[in-house]
Amino acid sequence: MRELSLNILDIAQNSVSAGASRIEIEVQEDTAAKTLRIRIADNGCGMSEETVRRVQDPFYTTRTTRKVGMGIPLFKMAAEMTGGSFSIDSEVGKGTTVTALFRTDSIDFTPLGDAESSVCALVTMNENINIVYIRRLDENIFIFSSDEIKQVLEGVPLNEPSVVQWLGEYLAEHAKALFVGNAPENQGGQSEA
């Protein structure tokens, strides 16, 4: 994967397959600590301890048509080769949380890339799942929830082309605003708990 944002898109697909109704994606950058933490949490079907162990092996997959499953192993490798860490917390019937910590000053650090583009693809392709996106840069925060957008849309589908375009720009602009230090009002998001 050329960008970690592609790993996010890939790992979140597992949550979709797990039948989740809510997927939370958190991207947290800490410039002082030189770390980037990516957390993908869902309320899907979850996995047993044995399965959690096995999904980290590239030669394991739940699919019956082939023998390899690269998604989790690639993400784990990307984190560990920076000197960071990787973990999966899962409980059958409750859901799964995948957390990866990256050291951004490592020469092996893969750039995050366009995380908002991944979120936009997930939101527009999964009308029935509430996708919550939390982007943090030090103290600045942007929170987005697709359920709140759906309320505004009053039945107009999220994959309506003009809505997709608005959404892509909305996410990109709000995430970018974190970097110039004037975090906007979270019109479409929840206030921070």
Binding site: Q13, V152, Q187
Partner: protein, 124 residues
């Protein structure tokens, strides 16, 4: 900066067009992009975005973009299938955003599949 107010305006406009869409549901064209690990790693996300952008730009309200998993032809990813009602499904391989734009204009708008991008051509 994009606002929720703007989204409300988009909603009203989309609603008017949705009524038209519902009437000719049988004529809907489907574009399916492979978005498993292999597809994503090969560049499926920009291809998906290119299709959505081009379809929105041209106001093609009878075209829907969807995603699918791995169909076992990972070496040909990004793979895109175009399904036009009453026609045979066309499978495009090794797609790029540039190729996506051409598939929209030639195949979806003008009804001429782009033979050189198809999987049949790639496996010759």
């Amino acid at each position: 900066m994009k606002s929720i107010e703007e989204l409300k305006a988009i909603r009203e406009k989309a609603r008017a067009q949705m009524n038209i869409r519902e009437e000719n549901e049988d004529g809907n064209i489907r574009v399916v992009v492979g978005m498993a690990t292999c597809g994503i790693a090969a560049g499926a996300r920009p291809v998906l975005n290119a299709f959505v952008d081009e379809i929105a730009k041209r106001g093609l309200h009878h075209v829907f973009v969807a995603q699918t998993g791995c169909i076992g032809l990972c070496q040909f990813e990004p793979i895109v299938e175009v399904m036009v009602p009453g026609r045979e499904k066309v499978t495009y391989c090794k797609m790029t955003p540039e190729k996506a734009v051409r598939v929209v204009t030639d195949h979806i708008v003008n009804g001429q599949p782009v033979a050189e991008y198809t999987i049949g051509e790639a496996t010759k």
